[in-house]
């Protein structure tokens, strides 16, 4: 009896040992694909046009004042309704808002939201952004007290230290604060053409005189994003919409002034597109998304239009402004909720395009269908300069006996005395061999 038990234990342990050794020799990534969750990593960087400035609620908004002013999300005015929050990744349910990093749960996607209102190129690369807050509060008195202070928001690329692995997508808009178009618009509203204070052309000319530096900074940002995110990361750069209704706003912003500002936004977008193209040609996976056309639809949705998707200039502060003493609200001249949706439509279309292009690269599929036509063989197009997705090439087609007409039957009989299924099988084998050679 003892011997039997001993033999049983010995056998069991030997089996365990054998299985263990077998498992260790199996390629690990196969197991990773089968059982592990490798989340899609999406990082959203940039300025206020990416953070969702002006679109409440902001992350952290629900906190008390004392906690709010130390909350990085609130200080950066990162909105739950920003366009990055509305992005969809094919194959992942929901939108990025459902996968904000830090929730602590295992998920198929992780979204790191680091865009910050007011950010310039330097704040992406290396320099923390200092947020100065000045909030009024009433502490049982009719006179308000002030809560003042400053917080440094780390340079946005530092997020990749936190993530610790390559990203799949990086989205951003940047450069608008470097050039300062928003300030130009404020001048339109606060100045006086008759008194001679506006000097719009000279201000815009000064912007372009400095643009070479801004251009280099933007290019550096794109390169540094790729270095941090990895060569596989798809970098999506969103442009800016025209800001003012083409008719202007009465005497406040003349039609001529509106035209001047809008023309220069278009020029800026052209420059951004050109920089992206240059970086793309140098090997960066980077794409430009033009939003002007979307905002120009139906007569235009700029600030002061009939159906604006961009806020007008708002003087005085809003409750969630970080500076209650500023002359104008930070919400001024930023996309509202409709504007953010417009941005999301454009960027989602780009993501879908990118994913479709990936799926059409160098794969072979064998599709066998039951029914009248029982076998079709496809190969995808060879990699070519034009990746518009050519139609698949049908190599062999084998009708079943039932689907054959008399004519077809007689035709086939003429061609070959062998059964059609065997011919099809040969064709299939030939095409597979050909495909293998190509691979």
């Amino acid at each position: 009896m003892k011997d039997k038990i001993t033999r049983l234990i010995s056998t069991s342990l030997s089996v365990i040992l054998a299985l263990t050794l077998a498992m260790m020799s199996t390629p690990l990534y196969a197991y990773a694909n089968e059982t592990a969750i490798d989340p899609v990593i999406v990082v959203s960087l940039g300025d206020s046009y990416s953070s969702g400035e002006g679109i409440e609620p902001f992350y952290g908004q629900e906190k008390t004042l004392v906690d709010k002013v130390t909350d990085e999300d609130w200080l950066s005015h990162r909105s739950k309704k920003s366009w990055p929050a509305m992005l969809e990744i094919p194959g992942i349910e929901g939108t990025l808002k459902d996968y904000k990093a830090g929730s602590g749960t295992s998920a198929p996607c992780e979204w790191y939201f680091k865009a910050c209102s007011g950010a310039e190129t330097k704040n992406i690369k290396s320099i923390a952004m200092t947020k100065n807050y000045r909030k009024k509060y009433y502490n049982g008195s009719i006179f308000p007290s002030s809560l003042k202070g400053s917080v440094d928001i780390p340079a946005q690329l530092s997020v990749f230290d936190e993530i610790g692995r390559p990203a799949d997508y990086v989205t951003l808009s940047i450069g608008g604060n470097d050039v300062g178009f928003a300030e130009v618009i404020t001048i339109c509203a606060t100045g006086s053409t008759y008194l001679g204070s506006k000097k719009l052309e000279k201000k815009i000319e000064a912007i372009w005189n400095e643009f070479a530096v801004t251009q280099e900074n933007i290019k550096t940002v794109y390169n540094e994003i790729q270095n941090a995110a990895g060569v596989q990361a798809e970098i999506i750069v969103a442009g800016y919409p025209k800001l003012l209704d083409k008719e202007g706003k009465g005497f406040l912003i003349s039609k001529k002034e509106a035209t001047l500002v809008n023309a220069n936004v278009t020029k800026f977008n052209e420059r951004l597109k050109s920089i992206v193209s240059e970086c793309h040609d140098a090997g960066i996976n980077i794409h430009f998304v033009d939003v002007e056309e979307e905002f120009d639809k139906d007569g235009g949705h700029q600030a002061y239009s009939d159906v604006p998707w961009i806020n007008s200039i708002i003087f005085g502060s809003k409750a969630e402004d970080i500076d209650d003493y500023a002359i104008a609200s930070s919400y001024s001249v930023h996309p509202n909720e409709l504007g953010a949706q417009a941005y999301a439509r454009c960027v989602n279309a780009k993501i879908a395009e990118i994913e479709m292009a990936k799926n059409s690269e160098g794969q072979a599929e064998i599709l066998i269908t039951d029914g009248d036509v029982s076998l079709e063989i496809f190969t995808h197009a060879e990699e070519s300069e034009d990746k518009s997705g050519t139609l698949p090439e049908v190599i062999g087609e084998v009708p079943t006996e039932d689907s054959l007409s008399e004519d077809e039957t007689s035709e086939n009989d003429q061609d070959d005395s062998e059964p059609d299924s065997a011919e099809a099988q040969e064709t299939l084998e030939e095409s597979l061999s050909e495909q293998n050679r190509q691979d």
Binding site: L21, Y29, P166, Y194, K199, K202, K203, T259, L260
Partner: protein
């Protein structure tokens, strides 16, 4: 007999050895599997699939050609009409052009220190005062005044928020003070900008010619309200409703 006993002992030892070995290896394999799950091997395999193949086009999309040429002309793209000269503009928009004078020659142009005093004594001491032209007319960009500087500039301005929360732009041009009720004009349905002045004449500055134009404007260009003194006290009382009633 001895042999049998030895054999028995050997098989127990070997069993124990196998048992220990199996447990250790199983443990190592499980630990190693979870470690490798996030390791470089997995990432390398993933990257290999995602990197563009040599020789393939780098483009994942057809790149739209920019509408303009690569080197964008600096000044030609702006869709603006030819601007009238200052002479033409004020001739067209004024009832009367009273005087035209060179800014550099004027003795009334205050220095940065002097304009800071002007603002302060009118209750605008906290206002950020800026200029954007040098006395010779050259564009300076927006710069904030230095309260200790004796440098003179043809035009100064600053934004003031009144007690009622309305925004005003205060201008000092050749020593004369004017005020633009920004909040009022933002909501106004008047056909022209409304400005407050201490006289019915306005002094305007043209940086192209570096000249002052003293004019009485047409109402189609500017609606002028005359007030005794432009200071914080007066502007705090001039809410949007009060401006609508103001007769001056």
């Amino acid at each position: 007999m001895k042999k049998k006993r030895i054999q028995k002992k050997f098989s127990r030892k070997s069993m124990l050895l196998i048992a220990v070995l199996a447990v250790v290896l199983t443990g190592l394999a499980v630990a190693g599997y979870f470690y490798q799950r996030g390791s470089d091997a997995v990432d390398a395999a993933r990257n290999e699939q995602l990197e563009p193949k040599p020789g393939a086009s780098q483009s994942a999309e057809p790149q739209p050609k920019p509408k303009s040429t690569e080197k964008v002309p600096e000044s030609e793209e702006q869709e603006t009409q030819e601007d009238p000269s200052a002479d033409e503009y004020y001739r067209e928009n004024s009832e009367t052009v009273i005087e035209v004078k060179d800014a550099k020659e004027s003795k009334s142009v205050p220095s940065e220190a002097e304009v800071s005093e002007i603002f302060a004594e009118r209750g605008f001491g906290d206002v950020r005062i800026t200029y954007d032209s040098y006395i010779d007319g050259e564009y300076a960009g927006e710069k904030e005044v230095d309260k200790a500087s004796g440098e003179r500039h043809p035009m100064y301005q600053g934004l003031y928020a009144s007690k009622s929360g309305d925004i005003w732009t205060i201008f000092v041009i050749n020593g004369e003070v004017f005020a633009n009720p920004v909040s009022y004009n933002l909501e106004s349905e008047l056909g022209a900008q409304l400005l407050f002045s201490e006289t019915k004449e306005l002094t305007s500055y043209d940086d192209d010619t570096n000249k002052y134009y003293v004019t009485i404007p047409k109402e189609s260009a500017v609606i002028v309200k005359v007030i005794e003194k432009i200071d914080a006290e007066a502007l705090d009382k001039l809410t949007i409703q009060e401006i609508n009633k103001y007769e001056g």
